[in-house]
């Protein structure tokens, strides 16, 4: 089991080796060595991508195949982000080029890339969590480096302000989900996810309802983790942090911690999925809370975005809103109970695997959001020493930068969910999962919300083309770092490519989230004797009756 586990961790190990090399190279006095760090990081990510594509499936994970979807997705997004990150950390390089004496204490590039990789490692580790300790460490490893990245990405005071808000509120949320973990442990006496599940199922079958401590544990954990996904009530930091951080770092924040958060929510939700009254997908309390959180999240995100004039803040609030949409997929659940039985769920005309829709949407959202953010990072206002930020800056840029305006239009229309762009398919899958789970009011609210969102997304898509160039527009200069426009275009192309290749990815997502969540109930039907319980832990093999 241990060797299996390690074999499945090769991508992370490769990334760790890469970051060790990168840190050392980043301290080199020779500029060409330091310049090599980006290439090495890219190489490491590429190798990790290959390894994660061909990684063996590990038995004993709660969702065995999840890693096989999330890890490659993380590597691909990592490569895109790396392109966009180029030069977030280049202050020193410009100064050295101006003749500053080299001082290893001042280099930032190696460390910055190291934090970037560490956070990605954290995300990837989340997928292979078998116990709460692992999950806790992986979540912390995902978020701790991002605090440093936010703080060191910009020399302005707003960068530090973003860091202090992000860090302190993050610590608060960590305490909350840690308390949730403690309660989950208290409810079941185990830290292993499979045992927790088995104990909760046994308790459920004895009393007909899920244990209050276990339910509380899951709910507190989910509330704490909703900081990572920027959902209400933990969303407050989002706009300030996204605005204060350097633009590529904001794009990073909107994908990596968010994905880690949703993966964790799926794993923790897996503890109580199917334990509702009369075989409902979720215990009613959990469903109601998620429902409220989802509705409030998307509404807050969209309505607040309407009032913003900074593009980064608009995207930040839209990131909140998108978390609300994705929560619909969580509420829909893995789809085994949606239509009574697994078999019936299959013949429905709609996607019923909400978790599959979630992972698909996360990838789609990552790509389109990255594109929108990076377009901002591609233009620089030399007078204010900042990248493009406000809506006025964006107005009329198509005259001089038609490609950037095009990428912005593609990405924001996709974020809006305009058919046939990828965002539409993402929402289609999420919403249809919601409908097949019977959550029609929720889906209607989400539909209304996406109508509201049209208000600002159309502005983002249209202003560069239809708006009058302002005084700022004329003095914008393209960034000298070619990686950023490259990443922006690749994202826009990605939106178009995913648009036509959506179905296989959706299928992969469905397969990745397939699991024996339904079967565990029958496994634990009898009160386990000590020996049997041990066998159970050994035999968490994926059963044959997986319903994708």
């Amino acid at each position: 089991m241990m060797t299996d586990r390690i074999a499945s961790l090769w991508p992370e190990i490769v990334l760790f080796i890469t970051l060790s090399i990168v840190i050392l190279l980043g301290l080199s006095p020779q500029a060409q060595w330091r310049r090599l760090t980006h290439w090495i990081t890219g190489l490491g990510l590429a190798i990790a991508l290959l390894l994660s594509l061909y990684a063996p499936e590990v038995t004993g994970l709660p969702v065995p195949a999840l890693a096989q979807f999330i890890k490659p997705a993380a590597c691909i997004m990592g490569l895109l982000l790396l392109l966009g990150m180029s030069a977030v950390d280049d202050r020193l390089e410009t100064r050295l080029a101006q003749g500053l004496k080299f001082d290893p204490l001042l280099t930032t590039r190696g460390e910055f890339l190291a934090f970037f990789l560490l956070s990605l490692i954290g995300l990837m580790l989340c997928t292979s969590a078998t116990d709460l300790i692992w999950l806790f460490l992986a979540l912390e490893l995902t978020s701790l480096p991002t605090y440093v990245m936010v703080a060191s990405s910009r020399m302005k005071n707003v960068g530090h302000e973003a860091a202090v808000k992000y860090f302190f509120l993050g610590a608060l949320s960590a305490a909350i989900f840690l308390y949730g973990f403690a309660l989950l442990y208290g409810a079941t006496g185990s830290l292993h996810l499979d045992e927790i599940r088995a104990a909760l199922v046994a308790q459920y079958e004895e009393t007909g309802s899920v244990s209050v401590l276990g339910l509380m544990g899951v709910i507190l954990s989910v509330v704490g983790i909703s900081f990572k996904i920027a959902a209400v009530p933990m969303h407050f930091y989002t706009a300030d942090v996204y605005e204060g951080a350097a633009t590529p770092v904001s794009a990073f924040l909107a994908f990596v911690p968010k994905t880690a958060g949703f993966v964790s929510i799926m794993l923790l939700g897996g503890m109580i999925v199917g334990l509702g009254e009369d075989g409902q997908t979720w215990p009613e309390a959990f469903r109601v809370l998620l429902w409220v959180i989802a509705v409030v999240t998307m509404t807050v995100g969209n309505t607040m975005a309407l009032l913003q004039s900074s593009v980064k803040r608009i995207l930040a609030y839209s990131s909140i809103a998108h978390s609300g949409y994705v929560l619909i997929g969580i509420i829909a659940g893995p789809g085994l109970w949606a239509a009574g039985t697994g078999a019936a769920a299959d013949s429905s005309i709609l996607t019923s695997n909400g978790f599959g829709a979630v992972v698909f949407y996360l990838l789609a959202y990552g790509v389109m959001n990255l594109g929108a953010f990076l377009v901002l990072a591609c233009l620089h206002d030399p007078e204010r020493h900042q990248d493009l930020e406000s809506l006025d800056d964006l107005s009329g840029i198509s005259r001089r930068h038609p490609w950037l305006a095009g990428a912005m239009a593609v990405c924001s229309l996709s974020l809006l969910g305009l058919p046939p762009l990828i965002g539409f398919f993402g929402k289609l899958y999420l919403f249809s999962a919601g409908v097949s789970a019977g959550e029609i009011p929720l889906v209607v609210i989400a539909g209304l919300n996406s109508a509201i969102s049209a208000w600002y997304y159309l502005k983002l898509a249209g202003l560069p083309w239809l708006g009058q160039p302002s005084a700022v527009t004329d003095r914008l200069v393209p960034t000298p770092y070619l990686g950023r426009p490259a990443a922006a275009f690749l994202s826009a192309v990605g939106v178009l490519v995913l648009m036509v290749a959506g179905a296989p990815i959706m299928r992969a997502g469905s397969e990745a989230t397939a699991c024996d969540w339904g079967g565990a109930a029958s496994v634990a039907a009898t009160t386990p004797s000590p020996i049997e319980a041990a066998d159970q832990r050994q035999s968490m093999l994926p059963p044959d009756d997986i319903d994708p």
């Binding site: 840190i23 101006q98 060191s152 302005k156 006496g189 009393t207 276990g214 041990a534």
Partner: protein, 318 residues
Amino acid sequence: MLNAGIIYAACVAGAVGVLLMLPRRGSQLALLGGLIGAASLGAALLAVLNVTQGADPPVGERPGVFFIVLAFVAAAGAARMITHPRPVYAALYFILVILASAGLLVLLAAEFMAFALVIVYAGAILVTYLFVIMFAQQAAEEGQEANESAPYDLSAREPVAAVAAGFIMLAALLGLMYRGTGQLDSSSVMNAQAAARMVESDPAFALLVQKAERALADQGTLEPGETVAWIESNDREAWLTREDSASAESGAGRLVTLPGDFQIDNVERLGLSLMSEFPASLEVAGVILLMAMLGAVVLSRKIQPLMTPAGGTDTGSA
């Protein structure tokens, strides 16, 4: 089982107490607040310990007097920590909380963690905090009178709302948790789960079994061909089976008492569990520490803004 009313009332009283304790200019009621707070904690403890119900549980079921003392010390320390206007004192009170909770851990048979807590928290982390506080205060006080707190330490921010939020949360948390623990003793599954850990497949347990076998062999209880199947640690008994016997299949065997000097101490179990069940997590923790070290270096270094060729202050391209 529990008198929930008392708990909720205690929460309200506690809220008033803490509110009075919070630093405000010209506040004279801090002591009163402390008393109210202590009284409400006491009332809550009485309710929890079932004293108010009249039913007298067996002696072993109630925590002893040490617990009461330590609980009060911890709560008082925490309350003082969040209310003391001077940061240095607040940090020192936090050390008090840590010491008290280390005491609680000792009562809970977690000696190793208690010592680790004292060494790591009180010894290392808090000292660093004190350094930083001193560093900041020293600089801040250059222009001020000595012994004067910074203005932002003297007044609490939105005390009413914060205290209300905190105690509503406390009330809901306690209400739910006690409902939850009420379900615990009814379910036998949990303890079976705990026992389930002690099985052969567990490498940690294999070591314990070896140790028990050695002890039993030394004692002469273990007959040739017999092995220890599992140990019930709290009952200090072991289940022996014969490998060669055909009846091993049906689980036949015998129960023997372990020798008096046989000891599976908590540190041993902790270490075995840590190294056998969570070795990979240990590696991840190592990575986190490495990351923290790097992060601290990156964050705390001084970078003065330099002049760009254009003459303006370079505030970073990003």
